[in-house]
Symmetry: C2
Subunit: 524 residues, 2 copies
């Protein structure tokens, strides 16, 4: 049986394979029939050469061509929405309705279209002009971008259709997508549509290349190859840190999104005002997507007291009564079982009663654990270990001071949320807690669960280490997410006709440019 083709140098072709694998349907635990190749270094090498050439050619293509490609790709995805979601459901166990078809797919096309507008507009590149010194600078494409997509968002974070992809292309780079091996068919289908749009676009056909899997060693070689311009990785901490080390060593920018427990703090007044609704909100957020969001709240800190006791019982009941979702893979299931067990072995009490779940699919029971703040602080590292999936941990704190200590013991996270009373009764506590939380998270929320990363220009999907590799960048949000895949180019006394379009005196697209320290859309 042939393995599915890879997309290299503008052609669908048989991989130079060093092995093969089958994806699995998480809803049935059964292997799917199509085999996919593990690419050997030969594929990576060919792809890198092709990407370098594509990068040079892309330099000469107008930004409008990239914009048109992204729009067209979004159109093709929409036209094929049902097939894409059916296949994604089969490979990930995620429900078609509403998750894939009504939420994730529109998010994906929205991102592509926002990226198209950003490419056409040009403001993302921060053109900066100093007229008196005749020095001008701008952010420009960095070169081939290698994207390792995660398993939890087969469309919106896919290396061949998601946010990193959109940002890299919009910024003028070719992409080599290392599709996640858990959903290779979905990736292939998206790649076929991307390739179709590419061929219609006039862009170099090697602008997008797709592999399904490589060996660990070849992954490291790929990220540290001199032809690679930048790397984006979303996934497990251990894999991400290994790749990061390899890229760091050769000075290749790498953006990793590794892990987050997204602490939520509910202050006493908030609980007093609204405990029942907050318990619903909490349970829904924890269990959304079976807890498999990078922004799932894994840690909830509550103040000791009667309201909390009621909240905990109510939440446990909700966990027990809500449906048990399907986990993405056997590894996800095994890891969740293990990390949950470790939390219990460390001393966490199990609040939920339901210990069983459907053996026919990858799943674990919705599990709510609890620990006192004192116990948490004695083993802070163990208790903040991410249990990726439908397990969450409540920490019952005896005082605001103790809450501050608990937050202080946390690593960097993507998000932190504080619920406080609508009246001002929690304000003193908020002011104590907020600065400590603020320093540890990329995004601070009030009165909101962290799941739901709006594709807003003001979004920060990033945060202090180890949530991400550099706290100054966001992976979501346009145009800000584009800057990661760029380098700063200064032109000193360069003759006008030799300048890139966005640095010339005229400004036909009306891009925002910083001219003599004033932002303007005008010509010079």
């Amino acid at each position: 049986m042939y393995t599915a083709p890879v997309l290299i140098a503008g052609e669908w072709c048989q991989a130079a394979e060093s092995g093969r694998f089958h994806p699995v349907n998480p809803s049935t635990r059964e292997q799917l029939s199509q085999a996919y190749p593990v690419s050997s270094w030969h594929d990576c090498d060919t792809a890198l050469d092709a990407a370098v050439l594509a990068a040079e050619q892309l330099n000469a293509c107008p930004a409008s061509a990239r914009a048109q490609f992204l729009e067209h790709f979004a159109d093709l995805i929409e036209a094929d929405a049902k097939s894409i979601c059916a296949l994604a459901a089969e490979e990930t166990g995620l429900p078609i309705h509403p998750r894939l078809l009504e939420v994730e797919l529109p998010r994906t096309t929205n991102q592509l279209r926002q990226a198209a507008r950003a490419a056409a507009d040009g403001s993302w590149a921060r053109a900066t002009i100093d007229t008196s010194a005749n020095i001008r600078s701008i952010h420009r494409a960095i070169g081939p971008v290698v994207i390792f997509g995660p398993n939890n968002f087969p469309l919106a974070f896919n290396g061949v259709s998601g946010g990193d992809f959109a940002a890299a292309i919009a910024a003028g780079n070719p992409v080599i997508a290392k599709a996640h091996s858990a959903h290779p068919g979905t990736s292939q289908l998206l790649a076929r549509l991307a390739h179709q749009a590419l061929q219609a676009s006039g862009l170099p056909t090697s602008t997008i290349q797709v592999l399904y899997a490589t060996s660990r060693a070849d992954g490291l070689k790929l990220v540290s190859d001199p032809r690679t311009g930048a790397v984006a990785f979303t996934g497990s901490r251990s894999a991400g840190l290994t790749l990061k080390q390899a890229a760091d060593e050769v000075g290749t920018p790498i953006y990793v999104e590794l892990s987050s427990i997204n602490p939520v703090i509910m202050l006493a007044g908030a609980l007093r005002e609204n405990s029942a609704a907050l318990a619903e909100e909490f349970a829904n957020s924890c269990l959304m997507g079976t807890g498999q969001f990078c922004t799932s709240p894994g840690l909830l800190i509550l103040p000791e007291g009667a309201d909390t006791t009621v909240f905990m019982q109510h939440s446990a009941d909700l966990f027990d009564s809500k449906p048990i979702g399907t986990l993405l893979s056997e590894d996800t299931e095994a890891n969740l079982r293990q990390t949950t067990q470790e939390l219990i072995a460390s001393g966490a009490k199990v609040l939920t009663k339901n210990l069983n779940c459907d053996p026919a699919r990858f799943c674990r029971p919705n599990t709510l654990l609890a620990i006192t703040g004192k116990e948490f602080l004695l083993q802070a590292n163990r208790y903040q270990a991410e249990a990726f999936g439908n397990t969450a941990l409540i920490v019952v704190s005896k005082s605001t001071e103790e809450t501050c200590q608990i937050i202080n013991s946390l690593e960097g996270n993507l998000t932190g949320s504080i619920y406080s009373a609508i009246d001002s009764s929690d304000d003193t506590d908020y002011n104590q807690v907020e600065p400590i939380l603020r320093a540890r998270v990329g995004r601070l929320l009030n009165d909101k669960m962290p799941t739901g990363v709006a594709i807003s220009p003001a979004m920060n999907h990033g945060g202090p280490f180890p949530a991400s590799g550099h706290p100054g960048f966001t992976a979501v949000g346009i145009p800000a997410s584009l800057i990661r895949f760029s380098k700063l180019h200064c032109y000193d006394n360069v003759r006008n006709n030799r300048l890139p379009a966005l640095l010339q005196d005229d400004n036909p697209t009306g891009a925002w440019r910083l001219i003599n320290e004033e932002w303007s859309q005008s010509a010079l």
Copy 2:
């Protein structure tokens, strides 16, 4: 004899020393009388704790206080200009006139004042607001910034007064300056003035701390300590890469500026038009500061031919006739002797005749070497090794294609310059050469030598690895250089009165903010 005090936790105090050293006067080769301490880890540890506290306190200080501090510090430097420059001359061998007093000191105070304006203004922080989603984000101080200053700019790049210092403070961070051990007295004098301005400012007195030296192991510990927010290093490649590895491992942003040969390409028409003037320009730039600028042109590529032969002879004569400057240290002298010898051993011809120089001071003869393009390409790595100081290498290329190959063999550099005819006779060659050079440099120049890094908002003092550690950042230029020392903070649904000033609806300072994708200085 006591060693000079260090500045830790707001106090001048005796170091917890693990050793001591004396700076040397490069003009006499003699040790200076004052001894300085090598700080043990205890000093670093105390400084880090104090910096963490200062960072928290700085968060509550208005930006205007930082601005006032920076202005006042600039005033104090100007008032003490003669003493500062006399001491700097004694420790570095750099001339008081015009270099230190008329060029570098004004550059230093200019930088501090520009940073003051940037701090007060707030536009640097890129406040971004999405009103419909009520999501707001902004760049904010990252935490204690450890700065390792280089030896070649005792004022303008000094960890306690230079560009990194100004940017870090303006962005709201405390600074721990690891002053360069070659000019500790200059650093101490500047630090005394900084401390004086600090005490008058109302800012936390631990905002600035200064050590003169640490062991190599403690330097690594310092950059990888969890209390360190970010690191800036300018200096040798080997030291910088070692520090980078340590900081990268713990996810601490580190900005390194390591080495650059700043290739200059003169095309045939430019030489034909202007050979004599270009030879002067070249010689002056190479020998400026005895070739000890990060932007000194170490490599000049010329087209084979009669004009080039004349140019080379003329340049050699200029190198032989111009004064021989003093090198910064014994190490600089030894390294320059060695790297020059290695170039000659590899096959470079010596064009200059003068082989001697004053034994009473650190110096080497002005040395101009030459090689053919063919020979360069056979040992490209050896021939592009940086010879820091008054040695330069001319490569005579037989064709534009060969010139392209030579540039293609170069590592990342800070700058690249192309001289071309004023008439259009070099345009075809320029268009062949430019893209290859452009991809390898942070700043591209036309008809200009690279020495002279204008403190312009549009400057890029940075470039692809290994010129710097990340090609998206500049170390010079305000406000752009501030962003390195910041992290992105997003506020999602956060109540208005809890937002930082620059994200509130009002905009009293008129900072530029990106509101619903439009830059504006208005209130919401």
